[in-house]
């Protein structure tokens, strides 16, 4: 009974959401040439979705391919190749029904076997995907972890085609937010025939077969990737843009100049150079688009280094930070002050207000002073430590501001240490820091992608925070199917973090881009994904 009800709720949800296509309001005058040029941050490491690593790769994967589910412009999960799905055995088994009109760009049908092949390929150690862990750890697909650890062959993954159009996914234990995890860029179907024929070269133009709204037309490494419409895409009739060119420009000023010279219609996510912000506000304020992002900027305390094992020190340092000043004045592109780690915009989360959050800044600083003194720091014995960040003007500005805020609460002497990116990652992973800049962007739209980081067993728990009570809550949340109950568990988790202060949260990221006024159809997807499929160009 419970299963049936659960499935019914899901189907109702699906029906209320929009289809994956551009929705052009009636009466809109479209430009005769529907072509767009977009920034993509940097050259994608690969166009193979199973090997996708970060944003640039994932951006390409979701333009070229379509997974079981996809996201609408506002970031809600909507059916992709799967037309509907239902859960059985209390969420332990999920059955997806694939749409019969889904086709590859060579005209052949997209089947459940394609998904089975892709998911098994992704976890196969031979593929060497950096996201191989994802199906096991985030989605909890049966044997996902064991395959990655090499204990079980990839054929044992809990995914099985029950026919051409029916796919069964078996989980280790029920996971309530499975569907949200399936929108990930690495979980696209991949063309088995092309991969077996061409090996690693299957992603070249002319060889790459895709099932999404676009197909690959041209690729010049470090210059551009050109995609054109895939006429076989099942919703092709509703796609408006004919051609999209992605430019891998990692220098934001260069991207900005090309945007201003009308060489780019939409910059990459985050493509708003801070040093030009004043000019942008003055000259093209309407072209700056910002909306909340599922990500948090913070400083992480290393529990292995004294005195950061002392909660009084961590709390004092966290209380001293004037979050609004940093988010609104120093950064100022739609970022919001972070008191909790989970951004307010995460689906399935309901923000809470911590006690100290209600205090005035003066009260917070008074408490911070008291805590520092209690921890034994005074003029004769100042609190001395290094604050590590990766080399970047923006991070430096924030570090300087925070160091100044820390000095206001007493004898705190901070040495700022900056390191080049890979060196920085190495220091952080090896625990060679006292306090370090830390940032996390959600892999999927659900609080667990943020809060799992503080689980004692999580690979990115760089500060080595360990609280068994916290672990227990997160373990329970994972398999709690009732949405309301789960939200409460996440709130409990945040309450523990607000007592233990494993991090000093600073701000929640925003999605920010420069978008020409003639580009329409984008929404406020908190994951930052803006699919060309949803866009259209106004006459101008």
């Amino acid at each position: 009974m419970r299963t049936a009800l659960f499935a019914a709720v899901l189907l109702a949800q699906i029906a209320s959401n929009s289809l994956s296509a551009a929705e052009v309001p009636p009466g809109t005058k479209l430009h005769p040439i529907q072509e767009i040029v977009r920034g993509n941050g940097t050259e994608p490491a690969t166009l193979d979705p199973n090997k996708a690593e970060g944003r640039p790769e994932s951006n390409m994967a979701v333009e070229l391919f379509e997974g079981l589910v996809t996201l609408n412009p506002d970031g809600q999960v909507i059916p992709g190749v799967a037309e509907k799905w239902e859960s059985r055995e209390d969420g332990r088994v999920w059955v997806f029904t694939l749409r019969r009109n889904a086709k590859w760009s060579d005209g052949s049908p997209v089947t459940a076997h394609d998904f089975e092949y892709s998911f098994k390929r992704m976890v196969d150690p031979k593929t060497a995907s950096q996201y191989a862990w994802y199906l096991g750890k985030a989605s909890n697909v049966k044997n996902g972890r064991a395959i990655v650890e090499g204990k079980v062959p990839p054929s044992e993954l809990g995914i099985k085609a029950l026919g051409e159009h029916t796919l069964e996914v078996t989980l280790e234990k029920p996971v309530s937010y499975l569907i949200a995890t399936l929108a990930h860029g690495s979980l696209m179907p991949v063309p088995r025939k092309a991969i077996e024929k061409y090996g690693d070269k299957w992603t070249e133009p002319g060889k790459l077969v895709s099932n999404g709204p676009y197909k690959l037309a041209e690729r010049v490494v470090n210059e551009r990737i050109v995609l054109v419409r895939n006429p076989h895409y099942w919703a092709n009739a509703k796609t408006v843009i004919d051609k999209v060119t992605f430019l891998p420009i990692n220098n934001q000023s260069a991207e900005y100049q090309r945007y201003r010279a009308n060489g780019i219609d939409m910059t990459a996510d985050g493509g708003v150079p801070p040093e030009q912000l004043k000019q942008i506000r003055r000259e093209i304020p309407n072209e700056l688009a910002t909306w909340p992002q599922l990500g948090t900027y913070c400083y992480v305390f290393n529990f292995r280094k004294k005195p950061f094992d002392d909660v009084r020190v961590r709390k004092a340092l966290s209380l001293a930070i004037q979050r609004e000043v940093i988010a609104e004045k120093l950064v100022g592109t739609g970022e919001t002050a972070a008191y909790s780690f989970t951004p307010d915009s995460a689906q399935g989360y309901s923000p809470i207000v911590h006690d100290w959050q209600r205090w005035t800044q003066a009260q917070r600083e008074a408490e911070a002073r008291r805590l520092l003194a209690e921890a034994g720091y005074n003029k004769n014995r100042p609190l001395r430590f290094e604050l590590l960040y990766n080399t970047n003007e923006g991070h430096k500005k924030i570090a300087l501001a925070v160091a100044w805020m820390w000095r206001r609460i007493g004898p705190v002497e901070v040495v700022l240490v900056n390191q080049e990116w890979k060196t920085f990652l190495d220091s952080r992973n090896r625990g060679q820091f006292e306090v370090s800049r830390y940032a996390w962007i959600a892999d999927y739209n659900e609080p667990s992608t943020m809060l799992d980081l503080f689980h004692s067993k999580h690979g990115n728990n760089d500060g080595k925070y360990n609280n068994p009570k916290y672990d227990a809550i997160m373990d329970r949340a994972k398999s709690t199917l009732d949405a309301g109950e789960r939200t409460k568990l996440y709130q409990d988790a945040e309450r523990i973090l607000a007592q233990d202060f494993p991090t000093a949260n600073i701000y929640h990221y925003s999605n920010r881009r420069l978008i020409k006024p003639w580009v329409k159809g984008y929404g406020r997807n908190p994951e930052g994904r803006v699919l060309t499929r949803d866009l259209y160009i106004l006459a101008h």
Binding site: T46, Q130, G150, D200, V220, N222, E223, A254, A261, K422
Partner: protein, 308 residues
């Protein structure tokens, strides 16, 4: 000549390259942070699978020997960052772009630099000389990362004459600004060298003799002064040529040009070991080659140092 080539290749070039490869191979592995480290820590078992795929699980000396063996077959290995390509693929696609850009900038730099240098030398200590030297001083000290955005601002955004970036297979409109930025430094240096050496030559006895004979100045310049005056310039041109085609990192990054400069800088930042090694070998080989070319050219211009 054959003996010269033999000596150059087997006794000088190959040992130099081997030292270069060895030093680079081990040095880049000392840089902190590996090619596959990322903000989202990859679990150890996943890292092990990646390491196995790229032979990083072997002892370093074994990796080194394996690399040399591949190299002997002309295989520079897979790119650790760009998983769809081998280093050969990427360099093969990028090198012609940098060469094309570099050669254009080089020709412009030579034409303008040498003419300006000679003009300054002939009008020594006049306002012409001061103007040329002043401008060339600005050219030397003005960094490319300042000049590139300024030119883009003026010609692409304000005047809208030229695009602010892109390559489009090297279409004329797209190369003007990059060439202008790239040749600026070399124009200045070549002008200074030419001026200095021309002044020296013009004051030497054989020129005075020619003038005393009543020969016209234009003839003296072409027939007698040019060759010796250009010798120092030519010795500078060898390394400058390599520098101009491989060192356009700022220009390529700013204008979005898909050349080897971008590959180099991304390779270093991403710890893409085979990419950095491959490009180091390329730059090393080019440097050795063009130095040899300069030596041969020297012989043609100045019989006194002709190779025996």
């Amino acid at each position: 000549m054959l003996k010269f080539i033999f000596r150059r290749v087997f006794l000088e070039a190959l040992p130099t390259l081997l030292v270069l490869i060895t030093v680079t191979f081990f040095l880049i592995r000392l840089a902190p942070g590996g090619p596959f480290s990322s903000e989202a820590n990859v679990p150890p078992e996943v890292m092990a699978a990646i390491a196995a795929k790229y032979r990083l699980d072997q002892p370093v000396w074994q990796q080194y020997l394996g690399y040399l063996a591949d190299l002997a077959r002309g295989d520079f290995g897979p790119s650790f960052k760009y998983k769809d390509f081998s280093v050969n693929d990427l360099v093969y696609a990028a090198a012609p772009v940098s060469f094309r850009l570099g050669i254009m900038a080089f020709i412009v730099a030579m034409l303008i630099g040498i003419s300006a240098g000679i003009t300054a030398a002939l009008k020594q200590n006049t306002w012409v000389d001061y103007a040329v030297m002043g401008v060339s001083m600005v050219g030397v000290v003005l960094p490319n990362f300042v000049l590139a955005p300024v030119l883009a601002l003026v010609f692409a955004i304000w005047l809208k004459w030229l695009p602010a970036g892109g390559w489009e297979g090297g279409a004329l409109a797209y190369v003007v600004l990059p060439v202008a930025v790239l040749c600026k430094h070399y124009i200045s240096v070549i002008a200074r060298i030419t001026r200095g050496s021309m002044i020296e030559v013009l004051s030497s006895p054989f020129i005075r003799t020619a003038r005393a004979k009543g020969l016209p100045m234009g003839y003296i310049l072409r027939r007698h002064a040019m060759k010796p005056a250009l010798l120092p310039v030519i010795s500078y041109l060898g390394p400058a040529f390599v520098g101009i085609i491989t060192g356009s990192v700022v220009v390529e990054t700013f204008f979005g040009i898909p050349g080897i400069g971008q590959l180099f800088v991304n390779g270093a930042l991403n710890r893409d070991y085979p990419m950095v090694l491959g490009l180091t070998i390329l730059v090393g080989a080019l440097t050795i080659f063009f130095n040899a070319v300069v030596d041969i050219l020297y012989g043609f211009i100045d019989p006194r140092i002709r190779i025996h």
